[in-house]
Symmetry: C2
Subunit: 251 residues, 2 copies
Amino acid sequence: MSHQLSPEEISFAGVDFLPGLALDFVVFGFHQSQLKILLLEYRNTGLFALPGGFIRQDENLNDAARRVLAERTSLTDIFLEQFYTFGDLARYDAAPMRAIMEAKGITPTEDHWLLRRFVSVGYYALIDFTKAIPIPDSLSDTCDWYELTALPPLIQDHRLIVQKALETLRADLDRKLIGFNQWAAPLLSDMFTMADLQRLYETILGQPLRRSSFQRKMLSLGILERLDKKYSGGAHKAPYLYRFRADTTSG
Amino acid sequence: MSHQLSPEEISFAGVDFLPGLALDFVVFGFHQSQLKILLLEYRNTGLFALPGGFIRQDENLNDAARRVLAERTSLTDIFLEQFYTFGDLARYDAAPMRAIMEAKGITPTEDHWLLRRFVSVGYYALIDFTKAIPIPDSLSDTCDWYELTALPPLIQDHRLIVQKALETLRADLDRKLIGFNQWAAPLLSDMFTMADLQRLYETILGQPLRRSSFQRKMLSLGILERLDKKYSGGAHKAPYLYRFRADTTSG
DNA sequence: TTATTATTGTCGCAGAATGAGACAATAACT
DNA sequence: AGTTATTGTCTCATTCTGCGACAATAATAA
């Protein structure tokens, strides 16, 4: 867990927060045929972690997730989905968090609330890589994008959380294909070519897809709207641009 | 939330438990072409609730789920899967729980831990209807099976939890068809006819399936082992009995 | 102007999967 | 022996998918 907290809030304990419960986010972005996620790097420790936060006493769980993620990415109206809750004892090891706090100049008491056991609700989000403005929290000095295929070592069980998020994303890609416009749209810009869309699918699924079958499938779903051609300057036929259809009353 | 607690534990507060966090179970059983779930009825209140429990301080979340469910059904080796975590404020309304406790003869203080806000991790389980022995907890007088299509009014957001569990079960039925032996097996007896299996599928999915297509599909998956015929005494051809194959190293 | 090149949109065909029905086989009963 | 209800399997049409082919076409090179 990491947190969007001021030093005061960290020292004076999370009385406003639900105790023992945290949120962790796997924020997916897509750029140059690579899936990336947001990670925090803690100051002077070389430790990386998923962005996270806590739930206020008077706040719905999912609202808290939306709030924290907005604080982190400066984006609202984010595609956000809860996927699993992690509650192993093994995930709770006070040592790294203590190191982080001490590196920050805080000497926590033995039973400081941040050092106790946390159960964490995992969310994954899909956001527009170009629009998000990562914001580090008060314990970390950077909040940046990292390629999913080359992640640095993560604290606690965050590797597992990423793994599970990816599995869920893949399963949802199949299951929720209809209504996808509401869905993977944030991972692409407003208009895109069929090749762009295919690259996104291939990257998420981690396997190549047949070009002709993919195109046939996507067109048959009726969720795409064909726009003008895109003259990219390459020495070849210009592809059409597409957009997800707005009217999605039915598939 | 309900609980497998002695009156002492209820009065003397859950210091051994993680605060503010509960477990709720949607326990599916199958009997006579009907999906059923376990519900508790609270003494003298007419209130029904999902079985639930709490997590010990020194216990993994999923282990707690297994323990509580075993306490409730007297079954171990249960198919159990976490599906969602419910954390709306609206789900927390102290009045019904206070009524339950008072009906039980306990007069809780205003800030009794059982009356505070809870976030609840939802699990669903598939168990053999004939093998489970429902056990009421100390606050309720009955723990029994109720047909999914005719549930009594449930407290808090338990209706929503059931709904979400069913959705997850349906989605998983498609997704996890391979390896199904480890899976829906508990809902059927050890040996079953193809018609039995089809009825199970139809009941879970809530829609009829074509008999020939279903049989072809199931046989083609190679997960069934054909046994002797079953002479049921009916005036018709005797169906084969099947069993899920034990060797499931690969699909 | 005319080739060349890379990429795109679409078509065709084979094979697999699925929907829908038909039919013989067969326990038990009349 | 005839009837009845149910089962296992087959067939045929339809749809879906894998896989390749091919013409169309922007930009570049000759």
